[in-house]
């Protein structure tokens, strides 16, 4: 073989390998999603959403309690996490723009995003469960909010930085104070971007299990009382999947299906908004 041929062959081999690895990545995605889809759809019935659980091992129960509990926890986590995250991001991108403190907080949030969520669970247990005297839904919401805040904060910071500085100057020239400029001009310019960040952060926390195990705990009854243990889909999946009953396994698959579809839709929606807005 000539040198030329060797080079070509080496290139072809390497590029084939890289194509294969991309296919492998896609293969896992299809494998996992397909499995969740097939197994989940089999167990998906209207009663799953309408009924509360039947006693262990019996047929016919549903997961209404877990769906409602999950929505409540996620909702209140967003209610805490979104404002704090957006305001925090505003500080970094506006008042503290270019300052050292903004840089430090920004780096720290990137790290906090990836801190093991089970550690956050133990932290919230010590702070909000032990002193109160019982597991409660608020603790679960706070644990998820802690995971959410850095995500929202960082996207907000990035999105606000993308708003052209001239826009603010134009508003200053009209005599507007900075806070009015931020709320009425800058937020408007970055709204879609921030919304995307919020959607993605909700997608991130909606599937969290580890921090809920020691905080909102679980509940086998329908309950909307956030000051007591409350069911969540993810904790229920953990319990049902490791349980001994076939009906539990089927419901765990169905619940996984619902939660996966929900999260993937949010993620895709977020990506679509970015493409549509910033292209």
């Amino acid at each position: 073989m000539t040198r030329e041929q060797i080079r070509k062959a080496e290139g072809a081999a390497a590029l084939t390998l890289s194509t294969l690895s991309a296919l492998l990545g896609l293969f896992w995605l299809v494998f996992i999603l397909g499995d969740v889809l097939v197994q989940g759809l089999q167990a998906l019935t209207p009663t799953l959403f309408l009924n509360d659980p039947a006693p262990a091992g019996a047929e016919g129960g549903g997961l209404r309690h877990a769906f409602v509990g999950q929505l409540l926890i996620t909702f209140f986590a967003s209610l805490i996490g979104v404002p704090v995250g957006v305001l925090g991001g505003t500080f970094l991108a506006e008042y503290a723009r270019g300052r050292r403190i903004a840089r430090i907080i920004s780096i720290l949030s990137d790290i906090v995003v990836s801190v093991p969520s089970i550690v956050i669970g133990t932290f919230v247990y010590a702070v909000l469960v032990k002193p109160v005297g019982h597991f409660n839904g608020w603790a679960g919401a706070v644990a998820l909010a802690i995971i959410m805040i850095p995500v929202v904060l960082r996207t907000t910071e990035d999105m606000l930085s993308l708003v052209p500085w001239e826009l603010r100057e134009a508003a200053f020239a009209l005599g507007a104070p900075y806070y009015k400029v931020i709320i009425q001009v800058v937020y408007r310019g970055a709204a879609t971007g921030i919304l995307t960040g919020i959607l993605l952060s909700i997608a991130r926390v909606a599937g969290e299990t580890a921090p809920l195990l020691f905080t909102s705990f679980n509940n086998s009854f329908f309950s909307v009382d956030m000051s007591h243990p409350i069911a969540s889909l993810t904790a229920t999946i953990f319990q049902y999947a490791t349980g001994p009953y076939k009906t539990w396994h089927a419901q765990a698959w169905a619940a996984s299906f619902v939660i996966t579809v929900f999260i993937l839709l949010l993620t895709i929606l977020g990506r679509l908004i970015i493409r549509w807005r910033y292209k």
């Binding site: 194509t19 991309a22 990545g25 505003t90 500080f91 906090v112």
Partner: protein, 313 residues
């Protein structure tokens, strides 16, 4: 570009609000360290630091606790999963940035990111019901047979293949971190200036040579940071491995052994611990995990920032 805030009451209020909100991040970190330290003080006093980190004794009956088995399990599963994930992730990144036709790049990029969005409990359940029987019945017996005659290597594949072991857990972990590593590597590759690549092509280099000699050297800091970041993620992953690792405190040598990681120990034993010293030791483990992942993530961030600063100018 910083603006000096005028003494406008509205601004003062809004400024304080946002400042407080952004400081929550610092409060979390300080709070976590403080609370974990307080809660684990009992165990720290009893076992000290060195003894706790180096003892393999995890015996709830005798109430002596050492973290080494959990740390060992964490490190081995993480290392193994990185070993599987890195080549695949780099391959994917090369495919997306250099090989794929333009119309395929975005969809594949999104598909990989969807893989990252699937919650870890789904990975865990899928691992328990689908992957573990597959590994236990097909893959692992095959590996055992294939390596039986190779000295040293066969030690890694000793014992009865059951699918609930270090190998299965590492495979699931690797599937989980592939998308993180791939997307960070892709971003790093994309930082290579097009001009440099084009000049190389003009000199008659092949695509692979451009990747090997230009893109990778250019982006190695970013890729390294990405790998460390995935490492930080893998260290702290709980649900994906909790189902398939078996929570067994011992120093294992075979990949078919069940094992424990720090996260799996916490998930299995946190609500179980009945004695104060037991619970305190679990908080101590959580503290060790927090410090480990924080350090790795901080180093990762350092490299990623260096990479950005160097090439984004």
């Amino acid at each position: 570009m910083a603006v000096t805030v005028k003494r406008n009451p509205g601004d003062i209020i809004f400024f304080s609000l946002t400042a407080v909100a952004s400081c929550t991040i610092i409060v979390f970190i300080v709070g976590i360290v403080f609370v974990l330290l307080t809660e684990s003080s009992l165990a720290i006093q009893k076992f000290g630091v060195i003894q706790f980190l180096t003892s393999t004794e995890w015996d709830p009956v005798k109430e002596t606790f050492g973290a080494l088995t959990s740390i060992y399990g964490t490190i081995v599963t993480t290392a193994l999963s990185l070993l599987i994930a890195i080549p695949v992730a780099l391959g994917i990144a090369i495919f997306i940035t250099e090989v794929a036709p333009n119309f395929l790049r975005a969809p594949i990029g999104i598909a990989i990111e969807l893989l990252a969005a699937i919650p870890s409990i789904i990975y865990g359940m899928w691992g328990l019901f689908t992957l573990s029987p597959l590994m236990g019945n097909t893959v692992e017996p095959f590996l055992k047979k294939a390596t039986a005659s190779i000295p040293l290597v066969s030690v890694l594949f000793q014992g009865t293949p059951m699918g609930i072991d270090v190998l299965t857990a590492s495979v699931i972990l690797s599937i989980m971190i592939i998308p993180f590593t791939a997307s960070i590597a892709r971003d790093a590759f994309n930082l290579t200036p097009a001009v440099v690549k084009e000049s190389a092509y003009a000199l008659g280099t092949t695509k692979w040579e451009v990747v090997k000699n230009i893109v990778i050297p250019y982006s190695k800091l970013g890729v390294f940071g990405g790998i460390l970041f995935s490492l930080g993620r893998a260290l702290g992953e709980t649900m994906a491995v909790a189902f398939v690792l078996g929570n067994n405190h011992r120093i294992f040598t075979s990949l078919f052994d069940s094992a424990a990681t720090i996260t799996v120990t916490l998930a299995n034993e946190f609500t179980e611990a009945d004695k104060d010293i037991y619970l305190s030791s679990l908080f101590y483990l959580a503290l060790v995990l927090f410090v480990m992942s924080f350090v790795f993530l901080a180093i990762a961030k350092f490299f990623l920032l260096r990479a950005e600063r160097r090439y984004s100018r």
